[in-house]
Amino acid sequence: MRIDRSATLRIERRALSGLPMVLACRSAGAGLVVDPPSDGRLVVRGPAEGGGWVRVLHARTLTLLALAPLLPEGRGVRADILVPLDLDLVDLRIDRTDRPLPDPATGADLVHRARELGRAAAGQAAVGNLRRADELWDACARAWLEADDTTRAEAARANIRRT
């Protein structure tokens, strides 16, 4: 078990070996322990301090896959999440937050645009058009910032560096 407080969110393939995995979320400032998914069920545990919700995003497209409240369990909190069976832990980004959904004042159009840019960028990266993918990820990051979702903006920026 290792804590990495430097990364926004770090997912290690080692977790797939069956060991619990420690994730650190810089925006939340607290570690989350994620049990490896078992047949689509994911259990996330963490300290009581921090955001009250867990968001699960698709790592590639940043689509919101699942949302669950963190409920008290012992001294900490726990969320039970259902995720699509065909996704591994490495396909997921897990984020602890107090604002699980876009502010209604933000406008759905902004969020749709940011998500579509992310999907387009992922599509370009998948076919090897990395330069175009980087451009789209950059636009996607700006769009998420505009939609006031810094977590997804950072994730989009991280994808630029990756490609």
Binding site: L65, P69, V111
Partner: protein, 231 residues
């Protein structure tokens, strides 16, 4: 005069030991031969997963009643034999569904299709799954309803997700309810579901009904916005 077993549809083993008339069987036989019984059987056998035609369902019901009387020769006659027989027929139908190879706890021959159907999400999600989730996220609904709707979409696309010991409706409940119960649970809406420390009382059921309606409305709105086929 002893009751004779009907010539067809009743195994001999179920009837051969009955040698004296039993008032329950006398009245039950009258109901089983009535148009009401046939209508009831036709309604249950309308479920394609049942695998029984109305005549077979009537025969199975008769068989069950005879076996019951054989085991309980002193059984009292219910106040309403017709209601008792109709209930027995329904139980026979549900038991058949449970035993069928395509058994899903979500099939109930007594229920009609829900007026608001959820979006059809193909396994794996794909583009449609992304669009459905995107619309749900930006619907403006409260987080718990969004969380339940997202869980519902996952369950619709992946019926094999392990629900473990999550709360579930009674066997035979409607498919949508079978998804909505665990969806509400993961969304943190535990107070509207029965649990180890909570009975399924009237208040709980009312709360559940309201929350389920909110999730169904969101799913219905999403389906309509996308113009996707619903079921």
């Amino acid at each position: 005069m002893p009751i004779r077993a009907p010539a067809e549809g009743v195994p001999l083993s179920a009837t051969s030991v009955i040698e004296v008339p039993h008032p329950l069987l006398t009245e039950a036989e009258a109901w089983l031969r009535s148009a009401d019984a046939y209508r009831c059987a036709r309604r249950h056998s309308g479920n394609a997963d049942l695998g029984l035609n109305p005549d077979e369902l009537v025969a199975e019901t008769r068989d069950r009643l005879w076996r019951y009387v054989r085991r309980n020769p002193d059984a009292a006659v219910p106040e309403s034999v017709a209601a008792y027989c109709a209930r027995t027929m329904r139980n026979v139908a549900v038991d058949h569904l449970r035993r069928s190879p395509i058994n899903r706890r979500s099939v109930d021959p007594d229920r009609r299709p829900e007026p608001v159907a959820p979006p059809l999400v193909e396994p794996g999600g794909g583009d449609l799954g992304d669009r459905v989730r995107g619309l749900i996220e930006t619907s403006g609904a409260e987080p718990a309803v969004v969380a339940a709707a997202l869980a519902y979409v996952t369950l619709a696309g992946h019926p094999d997700v392990d629900l473990g010991a999550l709360p579930a409706p009674r066997a035979g409940a409607h498919e949508h309810d079978a998804r909505l119960w665990p969806a509400l649970w993961v969304a943190g809406e535990r107070s509207c579901l029965p649990g180890a420390d909570r009975l399924d009382g009237v208040a709980t059921r009312r709360r559940r009904s309201r929350r389920m309606r909110a999730v169904k409305d969101l799913l219905g709105d999403t389906a309509r916005a996308l113009g996707v086929r619903t079921r």
